[in-house]
């Protein structure tokens, strides 16, 4: 092949790769800043000074700035519409495919029971024929029933296959459908939040109230737009799944490194321990380094996008088609320091007020003393009272069946105000029951996925209003919503340093009494802020604590020990603080077998892969009996293990 041909082939191959790589939502939203910058550049070229030369943006007069804005507005609006359509085009395609799939599934779900009914009748008919033939045989007649017996066997096989498909096949497919649907919602979230981020500087672009996106049509009274859920909700769930995969991969790599430096003889026990952990993590990590890098970059980007999403999703209202007022949000990029201006403080206060108003509407909270329990006296609430407050009978045990319901009820009970709910989450006794429910529900593979939504809600709740209240107090806004312990430490350090500087100033000989008083006031103010920062950090810790406990006990131990350097006793402060022990404590909680633990620890796609397909699920009665016997044996062992673990937790 000639050199020029090779070059040409390679150039087109590189172009193809680039085109292929740059498809999708990421390309659409990543391009916004550059395209807006281009628009601004060309609009600026048309605004010229007296010398006929374009004026740099920083030197524009107010009048010229207005002129620039007006010149750009139609083009910015067009760009916004184009981007919106690109997103719609990408996601609509998937929605169509999903719809068509779901229709097929629905048709089967409707048709198969009819087929089963028909088959059962046919089987009864064949059986009757066989019986009649057998009676003839008994009377000495010679009748060949082999054909009828074959027909019966075939029909029975067909019936079994139809039943298996209905009971196992269709639900399995529906799970995969739900997972794909949720992912598509997350893609839409990516797009919408990308628009909010990309156009945040242009106040006339109102993404939140764009009917096309928000999907609510006042006249028609139903959703027609892109979003079927609160923006950010699906993406937030997806980020959580992705972060878990990344964490598992990182943990696996760390263990692998540690293993390399260990002595096979001296560190034998540790090596065994690491190998066991690695074997477990191996199923849940990302093995391909490139896929890991891509997911890491993408998750970081998605987390950035989520800063433009409302805090507390209100799924029920959206699903019911009710009008959802999104709370006012700050669209500024997250701040890196504490330079809170008075304007920002006013904006934050406004946002918080709007948030409170929205929360009041969405939860129908009763902010009066009419609530069933006096919110101010929650310290005296015992776990059994806590359950009766939620409408459960006294002595109700927490088990696999009701734990998720209790949590749902706790979050949604209209008779309990958010104020009381907030107190419950921090009340030692109530928190104990909530954690117990989270632990129990979290271990149940059957409710695993739905439980994650509930857990997320509680986490959002624990993190949201509590954090918001405290953050408002310290003058910081929603941009600190995702702050971790380290960031809080840094914030605290900033104030500490500032206080040190002020204290140095106090020592100056030249200081006037007025100046001294003013500095002392500032120091006191800063000290008060530091106290609030520490409160916020404590709330953050509680939220993480709930989240982690609800997921995995073992990981909770690692989490608490490593992240906070706490001792074993600090694992469950609620138990330390109270001696209350009732029937709702987990003494009656059913044991959890290893398979269930394994399933809870699996990431979503793996959990689905691990479910038996309808084809494999058909077992002979003998096999089923064997499995049941084995299961009982395992349960006995696990019960003993579970007791040990429980005791360990109570130390």
């Amino acid at each position: 092949m000639a050199d020029s041909n090779i070059r040409s082939d390679r150039t087109s191959e590189v172009n193809r790769i680039q085109n292929e790589s740059e498809k999708g939502i990421n390309k659409t939203i990543d391009g916004i800043p550059n395209e807006l910058a281009e628009l601004k550049k060309s609009a600026l070229e048309n605004i010229k000074g007296e010398d006929g030369q374009p004026i740099p943006e920083g030197e524009l007069t107010d009048e010229q700035k207005k002129q620039l804005e007006e010149a750009m507005k139609p083009q910015v609006e067009k760009l916004y519409d184009d981007k919106k359509n690109e997103i719609k085009e990408i996601t609509d395609k998937r929605v169509e495919s999903l719809k068509s799939f779901e229709e097929k599934l629905n048709r089967d779900e409707e048709q198969i029971p009819k087929d089963i009914e028909k088959l059962e009748k046919e089987i009864e008919d064949i059986k009757a024929q066989i019986q009649a033939a057998q009676e003839k045989i008994a009377n000495g007649e010679e009748v060949d029933i082999s054909d009828l017996e074959k027909q019966l066997a075939d029909k029975n096989q067909e019936l079994a296959a139809n039943k298996e498909y209905l009971e196992k096949g269709i639900p399995g497919l529906r799970n995969k459908f739900k997972s794909a649907f949720a992912k598509n919602q997350a893609v839409i979230d990516q797009g919408v939040l990308g628009l909010k981020k990309g156009f945040s500087e242009y106040s006339y672009i109102d993404v939140d109230n764009d009917k096309f996106i928000k999907g609510y049509d006042d006249e028609k009274g139903h959703h027609e737009g892109l979003l079927k859920r609160q923006v950010g909700e699906a993406l937030r769930e997806q980020v959580e799944i992705d972060e878990e995969k990344l964490e598992n991969t990182e943990k696996y790599n760390e263990l692998e490194e540690e293993l390399k430096g260990l002595d096979p003889v001296k560190d034998k026990d540790r090596i065994e321990e690491i190998k066991a952990q690695m074997a477990d993590l191996d199923k849940k990590r990302i093995k391909n380094p490139k896929a890991y890098e891509t997911l890491k970059a993408n998750t970081k980007k998605n987390k950035e996008l989520l800063k433009y999403a409302p805090e507390a999703p209100n799924k029920e209202n959206i699903e019911n088609g009710d009008k959802v007022e999104q709370k006012e949000q700050t669209t500024e990029a997250p701040k890196q320091n504490m330079n809170i201006t008075p304007e920002m403080a006013a904006q934050i206060a406004k946002a918080m007020a709007a948030q409170k108003a929205t929360q009041g509407q969405s939860t129908q909270a009763v902010e009066t003393e009419d609530v069933p329990v006096a919110g101010d006296e929650l310290e005296d609430v015992e776990p059994k009272d806590f359950l009766s407050m939620l409408g459960y009978e006294e002595g109700t045990e927490i088990n696999f069946t009701n734990s998720k319901d209790i949590l749902e009820n706790f979050m949604n009970n209209p008779d309990i105000s958010d104020r009381v709910r907030m107190k419950m989450i921090n009340d030692p006794n109530c928190k104990d029951v909530i954690l117990n429910c989270l632990r129990t529900a979290g271990k149940n593979k059957k409710i695993g996925k739905e439980f994650n939504v509930t857990r997320r809600k509680i986490l959002d709740f624990a993190k949201g209003p509590l954090m918001a209240e405290t953050l408002k107090d310290i003058g910081a806004g929603e941009e600190y919503y995702d702050m971790g312990r380290k960031e809080f430490d840094n914030l605290d350090l900033t104030y500490r340093e500032e206080i040190n500087n002020l204290e140095l100033q106090l020592k100056k000989a030249s200081i006037t009494p007025e100046e001294k008083q003013s500095i002392e006031n500032t120091i006191n103010e800063y000290e008060a802020i530091r106290t609030k920062i520490n409160n916020a950090r404590e709330f953050q810790r509680n939220a993480d604590y709930i989240k982690t406990f609800g997921t995995r006990i073992q990981d909770a131990k690692d989490f608490v020990f490593k992240k906070f350097g706490l001792n074993k006793k600090a694992l469950n402060p609620a138990r330390e603080e109270t001696t209350v022990k009732t029937s709702v404590d987990n003494k009656d909680t059913k044991p959890v077998d290893d398979k269930q633990k394994e399933d809870v620890q699996k990431t979503e796609p793996e959990r689905e892969e691990a479910q038996p397909s309808w084809k494999n699920a058909v077992k002979s009665e003998e096999e089923k009996d064997k499995a049941a016997a084995q299961r009982m044996e395992n349960e006995k062992e696990d019960k003993a293990k579970n007791e040990i673990e429980k005791d360990d937790m109570q130390i």
Binding site: E13, Q18, Q157, E158, T294
Partner: protein, 47 residues
């Protein structure tokens, strides 16, 4: 439906949903810049 028909129906639907899921996954998790660099590296290594 016969056993064979059910088998084929299940396979067809399973294949379809896996394909849709893969496409969405690509939309959701692709980083165009990183993908491009990775693909380009592969291409360069190939030659």
């Amino acid at each position: 439906m016969t056993v064979e028909e059910i088998q084929s129906r299940f396979d067809e639907l399973d294949k379809q949903i896996v394909q849709i899921d893969n496409e969405i996954e690509k939309d959701l998790h692709s980083d165009p810049h990183l993908d491009f660099i990775n693909s380009l590296k592969q291409y360069v290594n190939k030659y």
